[in-house]
Amino acid sequence: MAEQGSDKVRDEFLSESQEIVEQLNRDLLAIADACLGRDPSTEGIRVDPDLINSAFRAVHSLKGLAGLSGVERMLHMSHHVENLLDALRLGKVLLTPHVLDLLFEAIEHYQLICAEVADHGLQAASPPSALVDDFVNRVNRSANTAAALVTKPAAEPTAGDFDLDPGLVAALTEYEEHRLKENIRTGKNLFRILGSFPLMSIDVELENIKASLKPVGEVIAIVPGSSGTDPECIDLEVILGSPHNSSAIVGAVGNAPARVMQVARRNTSPASAASIHPSDVQSSGPVNPSRPPVSVRGTTGSIPQVTVKESQQQVKESQAADGGDGDGDGGGRQEQGHSLKSVSQTVRVDIRKLDVLMNIVGELALTRSGMQVVHDELRRDRVRAELARALQDELRALTRKLDELQAGILAVRMVPLQQVFDKLSRVVRRMSREAIGKDIHFVVSGGDTKLDKLIIEELSDPLMHLIRNAIDHGIEDQQLRLARGKPAAGTVAIGAEQRGNHVVLEIEDDGNGIDTQALVQRAIARGQISEDQARDMTRHEMYELMFLPGLSTRAVADETSGRGVGMDVVKTNISRMAGIIEVDSEPGHGTRLTITLPITLAIIQALVIRAAGRTYAIPLNSVMESLMLDYKQIRTIERREVITLRDQTLPLVRLEDIFSLQRPLDMPEPRNGYVVVVALAQNRLGLLVDDLVGQQDIVIKSLGKTLQGIPGIAGATELGGQQTALVLDVRAVAEEAMPRISEVA
């Protein structure tokens, strides 16, 4: 019992930390993006402070989580990374590429810790690790040395240049003060936005106003305004730094019940110290009559006094909002609008629970067919025809709702590909740092395309491999690229797009292209094809060679891409998800890999057929067409059965031969039947079947641990009336039936 309890704690720890680490990764990637093309040598890089804040919060949450779950190593590491991020957002440390690398490295340590916890439990990650200690030391060194580098530029404007009340400045937290100085230093205009907000809806109103101000500037601080007259309302003052003038700010505030004032500069030329008359800047939008009137108090330059009482109250609130982590170093981390309430509206669900739900839907559908049978029975009875009609109506409604339920559950299983793309971005970033002489421009598109969670999980490793291949084997050295007239930085692009019930992923690089001759030579050398076969091969057949086991065009294996053991595994993994991978390449110009995947594995359209007295389902995505056939038309070539279809020879396969099925004694050899034409890469194959039962949506189910992996069988499905049918793995059947093709395709 105790074990189960700790398992649950571990699972929750893992799923929560994974989510936060993913968020941290996204923040860091966004920061890294913002850094692109800037010269970091002297000033460090300035990025949206919200990104740094978000990263800071993520690490802070990880720290809290680690403390709660007793994962000492993560706690220890988070504490120091948090300090670094804190110093970063307070401007004590400059954002250099080195610092960014350290932060990315933190993600890897987090993942290592999570993996260890997943494998060996929460306690496993408690003892100190030399790896993490070394990392922490480097983090601390970086935090300290970088701090020394920061010099205060002399002749820059300071807070004193602005007509700001010292009392107000004193009430700011260290971080807010830093942001205020930063805005002043970079020559921004300062604005005060005064508003009175009803207590009932203050959080919503504040979020709204923050959101509308975000595009025009930076919200430096939100402080309580002068005491209001209305006890139901609270006066707040937003301090905003913005490069824009006051009219832009007024426009941004829009209809919100707030007033905008620009803070005048002191001691500056009259031209720049454009003090604005209140009437110019008062929000001109109509004020919602249900809201209390805006308190118009104070004019430009006269700052409302922030009483000590109010600022104490603010500190109290912030501490409460900070989750009371009580580690004492919380200075400067109070965040306005930061509450204990979870921001995200999502629920994490174990995918197996969704499988259970999906099973229930399937059973409901079967129950429904049972009811349909009852209905049909009922309809034959003239007396009860009326009742039958009513039942039919109800059944129709039930069908509709079942369809909606099924679609709803499927929608829950869908997750955006961006999750995978983020991981890939990180790998590319690291590789391009490590791979000497290669600069990689990684382009991602279509990250919002959604796929079944199970497919996404299975997809990360193959995609990772393909991207690594593209960088290692595809993109040339910079010198060679320049010599070929290409840009020094190689481009690797990954894009996703939904087409009907499929998602198409394209991985493209502008590198070497595939050397087909080298592939062919190696395949011959390894005895995988004969020279005769090689002579007849089309270009596409040659590309397909790279999916043969053990074939790599590189003589030397390297750390990242290995020895060419990968491509056949990639292909197997993708076919396991009922996907297809195709290759196209232009020598010297690049390679494009196209992966087509079904959106979900849970429900597919299938053609139900009968052969040798058995019923099978064939996934419709592999069926090109089906046609009737008089068996007299069957010819043989080298004892293999074929027919001629539209002037092309179509090889035939009988399921009873492949699966060694005994035809029932009372079932004579048929004289005619059907051919189901399936596609296998560039080749086609005809499955000879006795009868077509029809087309229907099926839920594919695993045969279980013992029976899964039988070649040619993808799974099973329920057809109703307690009847199950096997779902064919067409690709495997075809590969087996035509070894010649499988070697090539």
């Binding site: 099925l661 189910k701 279980g704 029976l707 039988i710 070649p711 799974g715 099973a716 087996e736």
Partner: protein, 203 residues
């Protein structure tokens, strides 16, 4: 459709006891195959269903009759006669499929839902009996081929007290046990362990 719920509250989940933990007695579901009476610990039995259409699966050993779906879950069905190397028999109205879950192997910790399920075709289901550990002999008394699936040979004591207790527990109307009744206790782990054809190309 009889349904056996969860493990017996009296005992640890049975079958194998690598720890050598002391169990005084165990509850066993008995059933007939040919002329012999076999038993499986009731903690492994999930459900007993009437025989239904089994879908044949290619490329599996002959004793795998195929698959069925029970409450949405697909599972292999094993013809226990063939598994025990006996001649297969036609179906009779008394044929049943025992739905069992694979006992945990070694130290693996699996929840009931995560365990793989199997259907076992038997000729006839008999009853649940309680067998004392001291009445179980090791399978070495047999030298026949089937001993590879036998965990032990159990003897049911024919005591009045015993049948009264059983009647109290399982309700009246139970068949009175014959003297010297022998029950062959199956080693479920071994019965459920087998390989199917997997081409190297597929893996």
């Amino acid at each position: 459709m009889a349904q056996a719920s969860g493990p017996s509250p009296v005992y640890e989940s049975g079958g194998r006891h690598p720890t050598g933990e002391l169990r005084l007695q165990r509850d066993v579901l008995t059933f007939h195959i040919a002329e012999e009476e076999y038993g499986i610990g009731i903690e492994h039995i999930r459900e007993i269903i009437k025989h239904r259409l089994v879908t044949e699966v290619p490329r599996v050993p002959g004793f795998v009759a195929g698959i069925i779906a029970v409450r949405g879950q697909v599972m292999p069905v094993i013809d226990l006669r063939q598994r025990l190397r006996m001649r297969t028999a036609g179906l009779s109205p008394k044929s049943r499929i025992l739905i069992v879950s694979r006992p945990a192997a070694g130290h693996e910790v699996l929840s009931e839902e995560e365990r793989e399920r199997f259907g076992l075709v038997v000729d006839r289901v008999n009853e649940v009996v309680r067998i004392h550990e001291i009445d179980i002999e090791p399978p070495t008394v047999l030298s026949g081929k089937e001993s590879e699936f036998v965990e032990g040979i159990g003897r049911v004591r024919n005591e009045v007290e015993e049948s009264a207790r059983r009647e109290a527990r399982f309700g009246p109307g139970m068949i009175t046990t014959e003297p010297q009744r022998i029950i062959i206790l199956l080693d479920l782990v071994k019965v459920l362990s087998f390989e199917v054809m997997r081409s190297g190309r597929m893996l």
